[in-house]
């Protein structure tokens, strides 16, 4: 082939490729520039099977209803370090997306809401327009959630203010490998009490010894163990929580428990705490040795391999477990203790709460969002009856909105109003306390561990961990209330200029009221810290 022909052929191929690419760009690919003038982004860490699909379906419907707005879903791995670093660095750099998932229990992140999230109280007190024509048509948005957004309120930087809308209700459940249960016991009868669980665990151990298979009653990991500890401690501590309930609210907040610790009203050496820890040790010995070195993914794989009969997990893992398992997965509630239980029976008040306490996958509005109205509008749709139904149907997660129909396949996740909780579980009450627990958990659950060793170690680290966490509670609240002075003044001045506007004085009054409540909390916490400093208490 002559060089002239080769050159022509080359040019022809290049022109052909160019024309093909042009055709592709204009006919097949997404437009280079969005035809929708507004783009909002929603970031979350729920990358398990279910939620991304659910949110995608919600977005598709929302975009049909709102041709002006494009919504993008940003998936960031894990509620762990990756998400934390991503969240903080983007917020500091002013590149945070419009709506962000956040959890009060995220380690070292308690200052985030006060610094970067905008309250949506005004909108929450008005009906959600997307509920028009439904039973929730005239109901304030905040009251359309199955829990009245109680967790959001309790953890809000300022009491009385709403900061987030939620998409799902979570509970903790025992997921069971039905085939393995039949192989071990010859039947499919599930345990309903701790006594029955103990009997079944003995059968599992005997089966493993007999067959030489490394089968355990519970799949183990640090995360799953932490969830179990929360459930057990919250239940075992109920009588003590009631004794310490000085305000008569029948529920203790994290800062209450931190303050009570400094006042010497509880320690991990308290009889109720010891009973809860004893039960935790007993149950955790049915997990694979060394499980504390694994994260939840390892426990999921252990369960999916058929190496454990149960996995104790949140319903957030439900869709993954049920779609990935090669065996039928049954869902039951964790067996409850009874008043005659040898370990915790003495402190039995009633069934321990295993869900129903609050809704989750909370999405917060970034203060720096360039499109706050559109972002709030999307939140409204996602948590309306229609939007949340779409989310539920496509995610396999429970709804957070009242009147949304729960599909038969996830009915077992619903927690009826039949169990008790008195607030926080004495574990995740502050990031330093939680980290101290994490560091010392091996002393409780390890093969040579014991309740005594754990209690002794915690007695050493808790006073300073509690102080630091309480200090953080105070400094976070200062962060929240200082800018409110500006808002209160602004609302006052605006109201003075437009006396006919009734909303302005009301907004101001609500902000003043919640600010006053926050300040009272600050002073109470400061007094608790000061007294503990004087008396050196918190070690009793």
């Amino acid at each position: 082939m002559s060089s002239r022909i080769r050159a022509r052929l080359g040019v022809a191929i290049a022109v052909g490729c160019y024309l093909l690419a042009t055709y592709w760009v204009f006919t097949r690919s997404a437009p280079l520039v969005s035809q929708r003038p507004v783009t909002i982004r929603v970031a979350h860490w729920q990358i398990e099977k279910g939620p991304p699909e659910g949110l995608d379906a919600v977005i598709r419907r929302y975009e049909q209803l709102n041709p002006r707005v494009k919504v993008e879903q940003v998936l960031v791995p894990g509620g762990g370090p990756v998400y934390r670093q991503w969240l903080r660095s983007n917020l500091i750099g002013g590149t945070g997306v419009d709506l962000l998932e956040y959890g009060y229990w995220l380690d070292g992140m308690t200052d985030i809401p006060a610094r970067y999230f905008a309250p949506i109280t005004k909108e929450m007190l008005e009906p959600n327009p997307y509920n028009r024509g439904t039973p929730l048509e005239k109901v304030p948005w905040s009251e359309t959630f199955t829990d009245g957004l109680i967790v959001q309120q309790v953890t809000a930087p300022v009491p009385g203010q709403f900061y987030a809308a939620t998409l799902t209700e979570v509970s903790t459940r025992l997921f069971c490998n039905r085939d393995l249960l039949r192989e071990i016991t010859g039947g499919t009868k599930m345990p309903t009490t701790l006594k029955e669980l103990r009997t079944l665990s003995a059968q599992v151990r005997a089966f493993a010894a007999r067959t030489g298979r490394p089968v355990y009653t519970l799949a183990g990991s640090r995360d799953n163990a932490n969830w179990l500890l929360q459930f057990l401690m919250q239940g075992a501590m109920m009588p003590l929580s009631q004794r310490n309930d000085r305000f008569g609210t029948l529920a203790l907040n994290a800062w209450d428990e931190l303050g009570h610790y400094l006042e010497g009203r509880w320690t991990y050496d308290s009889p109720e705490a010891r009973a809860g820890l004893e039960l935790m040790r007993e149950i955790s010995l049915n997990m694979k040795p060394g499980f504390l070195q694994s994260m939840r993914d390892a426990a999921t794989q252990e369960f999916l391999r058929g190496d454990s009969l149960f996995i104790f997990a949140g319903t957030w893992d439900g869709t993954s477990l049920r779609t990935l398992a090669s065996f039928p997965v049954d869902v039951i509630r964790f067996p409850q203790p009874t008043p005659d239980d040898p370990v915790v029976g003495k402190f039995y008040y009633g069934p321990y709460a295993d869900g129903g306490g609050g809704t989750s996958m909370e999405l917060y509005l970034n203060k720096q969002s360039p499109h706050p109205q559109e972002a709030i509008d999307f939140l409204r749709f996602a948590s309306s009856i229609e939007g949340n139904q779409i989310f539920t149907d496509h995610s396999g997660w429970l709804p957070a909105t009242r009147f949304v129909k729960v599909p038969e396949s996830i009915q077992a996740y619903v927690t009826p109003r039949d169990c008790f909780t008195f607030g926080m579980p004495y574990t995740i009450i502050g990031s330093n306390v939680a980290a101290s627990l994490d560091r010392n958990m091996h002393l409780l659950t390890g093969p040579v561990g014991s309740v005594d060793k754990f209690v002794e170690a915690m007695a050493t680290v808790m006073p300073s961990a509690v102080r630091v966490d309480l200090q953080k509670e105070i400094s976070n609240r200062f962060l929240a209330i200082r800018p409110q002075d500006l808002q209160i003044t602004a609302l006052g001045e605006l109201a003075r200029g437009t006396p006919e506007d009734r909303e302005l004085p009301q907004s101001r009054e609500r902000l003043e009221s919640s600010q006053t409540q926050t300040e009272a909390l600050i002073y109470q916490m400061q007094l608790q810290l000061a007294r503990a400093g004087e008396e050196g208490s918190g070690r009793r």
């Binding site: 500006l486 605006l494 300040e519 400061q526």
Partner: protein
């Protein structure tokens, strides 16, 4: 050649009467109002920019807006706060609403904004404002803050019961219903925080409930608190009324399970009380 002015050189003798039509504090101009709107939406930086670019004259309203925005201008420095305080002090010398707002914000600077807080100074500023302009909203709000300082933070009085009595003495001066409610709520909670008899807290909490208007968790907590404290103090009828109200109005909260258990316990207590009477 003289510069033309919109007014005649010699104003009529009755010109002073025009002052009657000037409100005590002139309403904010467009730029200032826009800035306030931005502040209300948490956009303080944008508000500062709006004010700095404004060509409007330096009115008291604008000076208040600038001083307010400066309080939270990032990075917050003590120099800026001191400059804002000086401006607020100058504005507070008047007797209009702007003066009252400025006086209140001065108190707030000493109470929560300065690096070195000076709570007695904040309390003194709130007292001064309440004496000077007692009916102003800002003075009334200052009294609530003074109540909090008295309850928990000021060195004197130091005994809890005396603190509560001193804060309660402020209560009659609060004319605004919602602010009175907020102080009532804090008086009740302070009684319980200090471990004083719950019976002393109940009147304050009941007054807060009568005023109404609380929302969300604060409201839910108040209802359940009154129910529980009434039960503890033996007022079973009142306890029942509040627990039943909670059950009716807040059924979505898991706490309702405990409230139902309390109602069962209450029934047993009521029975025992009836039998004891026989």
């Amino acid at each position: 050649m003289p510069v033309p002015t919109p007014f005649p050189r010699r104003a009529p003798r009755w010109r002073w009467c025009l002052l009657l039509f000037v409100p005590l504090a002139a309403p904010a101009s467009d730029d200032v109002r826009d800035a306030w709107r931005l502040v209300a939406d948490h956009l303080n930086r944008d508000a500062a920019v709006r004010l700095s670019r404004s060509r409007e004259s330096q009115t008291r309203a604008r000076r208040l807006a600038e001083a307010t925005v400066a309080i939270d201008a990032q990075p917050v420095t003590q120099e800026r706060l001191r400059a804002a305080e000086a401006e607020l002090a100058a504005l507070a010398a008047g007797d209009d609403e702007i003066a009252a707002a400025a006086g209140y914000l001065r108190g707030r600077l000493y109470q929560v904004h300065f690096q070195q807080l000076d709570l007695p100074r904040a309390a003194a500023l709130y007292r001064e404002l309440a004496d000077r302009q007692p009916r102003s909203h800002w003075a009334q709000l200052g009294l609530v803050k003074l109540g909090l300082l008295t309850l928990y933070a000021l060195p004197e009085p130091s005994a809890p019961a005396e603190r509560i009595a001193a804060a309660a003495a402020l209560r009659p001066r609060l004319q605004e219903k919602e602010l009175g409610r907020d102080l009532d709520l804090q008086l009740g909670r302070a009684v319980l925080f200090y471990g004083l008899p719950p019976a002393q807290a109940l009147p304050h909490l009941l007054a807060a409930d009568r005023a109404g208007g609380l929302i969300g968790q604060a409201y839910e907590d108040l209802i359940v608190m009154i129910g529980e404290l009434s039960m503890r103090t033996g007022d079973y009828a009142q306890a029942r009324a509040y627990f039943e109200r909670y059950e009716r109005e807040v059924s979505y909260n898991m706490r309702v399970v405990t409230v139902r258990r309390r109602l069962e316990e209450l029934a047993a207590l009521e029975r025992a009380a009836r039998e004891a009477k026989r």
